[in-house]
């Protein structure tokens, strides 16, 4: 990858992580603690009591808290930071692994995020039809 390419990716990662952090921070400060759609329906229709705790209900991060931190907002914030990092690690790792495991020449056109420029060594993009139902 060229230096400009690397810079563009770094910028994208910084902007993307910052905007996610802002959303999570907003959630820590302002999120409603009322039961969500499914939960309120379960209450009003009378099947909330059938819920069981999952096997890991006592995990240190359960319910977006952080074991040992009493302050709910602080716990939520720490939990959110860990969650964002975990998701970045697993998500980015998975997608990089998937693209890395592709054999040369296996890249097909279809629906997946496109780079700004075609990469050197990749086959020229063809106009083949997408294989996903395109709804039109």
């Amino acid at each position: 990858m060229t230096t400009t390419g690397r810079r563009a990716v770094a910028l994208l990662l910084i902007v993307g992580m910052l905007s996610s952090a802002v959303v999570a921070g907003g959630a820590a400060l302002f999120a409603s603690s009322a039961p969500d759609g499914l939960e309120s329906v379960a209450e009003s229709e009378g099947f909330a009591e059938t819920a069981e705790d999952s096997a890991n209900a006592d995990s240190p991060l359960a319910d977006y808290g952080f074991a040992g931190v009493e302050d709910e907002q602080a716990g939520f914030g720490i939990s959110a930071a860990i969650g964002l990092t975990l998701t970045l690690g697993l998500g980015l790792g998975l997608f990089m692994l998937l693209t890395a495991r592709r054999k040369p020449g296996e890249l097909e056109t279809g629906f997946s995020a496109s780079p700004r420029k075609s990469e050197p060594g990749s086959p020229p993009a063809s106009d083949s039809a997408p294989d996903w139902p395109t709804g039109g």
């Binding site: 009003s44 319910d63 977006y64």
Partner: protein, 261 residues
């Protein structure tokens, strides 16, 4: 007052409300997915089977179609979806809703990678945050990552094919995709409840209540999806996978017309 053993009922009640009966138990505020127990084990396992098969196909398609340069954006979409799902906004009295983000994901990184990204989020939530049951994981992946994508992608593509890929049309398409995706997830739960619900509760009433509250939540999902897609389209249109091929085709047609005229 003898409360008996701490049953699932009282533990669950503690998740919802602090009442004198469950004082001392932890109140939970952010529990947003299908927990264990709502749907019986056979239906949960069937959903897990379907979800596993669909995610496997999506992984395979992503491996074959995603360019190396697109991987960072796909990872970021997963992170943003995780953050967005934490933000419960109030919808009416005593109820909240949160974004699913699946419509946003499929529009930004395509349907296959979109399903994968949202699945990663739902799995992280269930494994590490005890949000959504472990037995119910297949149900949550099916409802939140797969059924949502299955309606959001065709809805978005239909709008941009008919009305073009200008910013207004793209935002309208994104809004509609966000709206229908939430209804699809809610409808998915209702169907699962109809087949495998453990409570003796009338499915019709559950359907009306679920679709009613999720119409509101869906409207908000639609607005946020439209705003985010619109913003990214303005700055980096190349990152909006759902329009990249159509825009390329439009450009090709325009240059062809220019040559002919």
């Amino acid at each position: 007052m003898n409360l008996g053993p701490v049953s699932a009922y009282s533990r669950r009640a503690s998740l919802l409300r602090h009442t004198p009966a469950n004082e001392g138990l932890k109140e939970r505020r952010h529990l947003v997915h299908v927990p264990d127990g709502f749907i019986d084990v056979p239906v949960s396992l069937a959903a897990a089977g379907v979800s596993t098969a669909v995610v496997a196909v999506c992984l395979q398609r992503t491996r074959k179609t995603m360019s190396d340069a697109a991987a960072p954006m796909a990872g970021l979409v997963a992170v943003f979806v995780f953050a967005a799902q934490m933000f419960n906004f109030p919808v009416g009295a005593g109820t909240s809703g949160h974004m699913i983000g699946a419509a946003l994901a499929v529009i930004l990184i395509g349907p296959y990678a979109g399903v994968v990204a949202v699945s990663v989020v739902v799995i992280v939530q269930a494994l590490f945050f005890a949000d959504g049951g472990l037995t119910a994981l297949g149900l949550n992946v099916l409802n939140l990552a797969i059924l949502t994508a299955l309606v959001a992608w065709p809805a978005f593509r239909l709008v941009v094919r008919v009305f073009g890929t200008g910013k207004a049309a793209v935002m309208v398409g994104a809004g509609i995709a966000g709206f229908v995706s939430v209804l699809a997830a809610a409808a998915g739960f209702v169907m699962e409840f109809a087949v495998g619900g453990t409570a003796a509760v009338d499915t019709g009433a559950v359907a009306v209540a679920m679709l009613g509250v999720h119409t509101l939540i869906g409207a908000i999902e639609g607005v946020i999806t439209a705003l985010v897609v619109g913003a990214i389209l303005s700055v980096r249109p190349d990152l909006v996978t759902g329009v990249v091929d159509l825009r390329k085709a439009e450009r090709a047609q325009r240059s062809e017309e220019a040559v002919l005229s």
